[in-house]
């Protein structure tokens, strides 16, 4: 190989390393903490005069992934309104770095994300709604006092989310 070729190969190699390192660093800087019963109780209790929009999803859930862009758009459009947007991923905590964060990065997720840290899935399901069967995606909306006022089960659209939030903000 010619010296020029060697130099080009070396530069390409260094460039690839730089890109990989930058991507990894970006993935690392997005935090997805585990949420347990106490943390969820605190979130519901301390509403600070804000509604809570809580989306339950998983990377393995196709309709969850399909509705995600609508939620991203919703967060952008309602950022000046008294609403907290949170998501809880039902992936396993040991899949956060390999699945959850890369997905959130790709989607340019703009809201607080957690991963299910409840010992039993059933405890999280029943804490959110005793009549809910755990079908994903599902979105719960809580009012300013932390009382559940809406359960939207299955994939929703931007329009449905918007209508619901506008109704509750009146």
């Amino acid at each position: 190989m010619k010296p020029r070729g060697n130099l080009l190969t070396a530069l390409l190699f260094l460039f690839s390393i730089l890109i990989l390192t930058t991507d990894e660093a970006q993935v690392r800087e997005l935090k997805v903490e585990k949420i347990d019963k106490k943390k969820l109780e605190d979130i519901l209790k301390n509403r600070n005069q804000k509604l809570l929009f809580l989306n339950l999803w998983a990377t393995w859930c196709v309709p969850c992934r399909e509705e995600f862009p609508d939620i991203i758009k919703l967060v952008n459009d309602y950022k000046n309104k008294p609403i907290d947007f949170y998501g809880i991923s039902i992936d396993y905590p040991d899949e956060v770095n390999s699945k959850v964060i890369p997905f959130l990065k790709k989607q340019k997720a703009n809201f607080t994300s957690f991963v299910n840290g409840f010992d039993k899935d059933e405890d999280l399901i029943n804490m959110l709604d005793k009549n809910w069967n755990g079908a994903l995606p599902s979105t719960f909306i809580f009012d300013k006092s932390g009382k559940k006022v809406s359960l939207l089960e299955g994939k929703q659209t931007y329009k449905i989310f918007k209508n619901e939030l506008d109704r509750l903000l009146k």
């Binding site: 393995w60 309709p63 899935d121 079908a135």
Partner: protein
């Protein structure tokens, strides 16, 4: 068929209204075709000690994570007079796809196609996988998950197995209702 489903729904609603909290819900007869085109009715299994109905999917990763475990359950209980029926109610999963999926994953139990998700509506099933265990009188004795580990790596509670063992031993089912995360059943537009 439409009229039958409507009557079934009315009967189920009537049953629910008239069911005391501690009484099991009775399921009315229904008929669906398997992926070979053969019709199956609930009454075909009236001599079974228990009928396991599992709403399953071809594309849901959670349902697919249970393929081997479902087949194992079927093999373990088929000679104990327990009927095993899978029902696919997802609108986008065709009969051909169901047949291919069953072959690929070596699923040997009966799998029925619930076109128009009428039977999922009748059971009020919402996720895959979701289990209903009926006794010989078609009363729902257990409803919920197969076990408590989606990945199958840390199973603490074999809920379906336990319910079947209790029914086969003529005992009351101790845990009648469980929940688990799963894929939403994709229904036809209302």
């Amino acid at each position: 068929m439409k009229r039958n489903t409507f009557i079934s729904l009315l009967f189920l609603i009537f049953s629910l209204i008239n069911t005391k909290a501690d009484e099991p819900i009775k399921v009315t007869n229904f008929t669906l075709k398997d992926y070979n085109g053969k019709e199956h009715s609930l009454t075909d299994y009236k001599n079974s000690k228990a009928i396991v109905i599992i709403f399953i999917a071809t594309q849901c990763p959670v349902s697919n994570a249970y393929n081997e475990r479902m087949e194992k359950l079927y093999q373990d209980y088929k000679d104990k007079n327990v009927a095993f029926i899978g029902i696919n109610s997802n609108k986008q999963e065709s009969i051909e796809e169901i047949a291919e999926h069953a072959k690929k994953h070596n699923l040997n139990f009966t799998i029925l196609k619930d076109t128009g998700n009428k039977i999922a509506d009748m059971f009020n099933a919402s996720v895959t996988p979701e289990v209903f265990v009926l006794n010989k009188d078609f009363n729902i004795m257990y409803h919920g998950r197969i076990d408590d580990s989606r990945r199958g790596d840390n199973i603490q509670h074999q809920d379906l197995r336990k319910a079947l063992d209790e029914i086969l031993s003529n005992k009351n089912v101790s845990v009648k209702e469980t929940k688990a995360f799963g894929c939403t059943i994709k229904r036809v537009e209302q």
